[in-house]
Amino acid sequence: GESVGLHLPTLSVQEGDNSIINCAYSNSASDYFIWYKQESGKGPQFIIDIRSNMDKRQGQRVTVLLNKTVKHLSLQIAATQPGDSAVYFCAETWTGFQKLVFGTGTRLLVSP
């Protein structure tokens, strides 16, 4: 069945470094991909999304890259800050489908 997974369960970086969080997906029919940030005790917070007709999309300090050939998604966070420490999830969905399919998450730890 379809699945969304992550390569690294935990990523530790120093403040000011750039962070890259990776995600692999298996459903070639997916046409929307989303990154969420979840802090302890809170619900997932939308970070950025990308449609399958795009390769790259930039937000404030974040960039999402999509490689449909290898079914790979990444989130780049520039100048990582301690406040970026959280669990990051990628999720996929597709037109006409009502649910989001989440991966298991990557924990980002940022040291001052």
């Binding site: 619900g43 997932p44 989001l100």
Partner: protein
Amino acid sequence: DAGVTQSPTHLIKTRGQQVTLRCSPKSGHDTVSWYQQALGQGPQFIFQYYEEEERQRGNFPDRFSGHQFPNYSSELNVNALLLGDSALYLCASSPPGGVNTEAFFGQGTRLTVV
């Protein structure tokens, strides 16, 4: 705007009991989805409500049921609770005609079954 609000924030139930969780969507949103998030896992889709009807359902048993009211708020009911039902239950709302990428999540209800 209060965003998506869920109640209660925490509760403890005994195996075999029934529980009702509540969700008020973000202002202007008419669609509500429920997710179960086990510790250390990503959220799993339970079902979605739109126009007071269940529109789609994930792989959850009939013990999980829901309801949507005319004001778009929603309830999640779980009967005959099992220890494995212990999880964070998340509600997400989305606007009319919106796609799932526009879903806003509440802070969740932490359910512990003992």
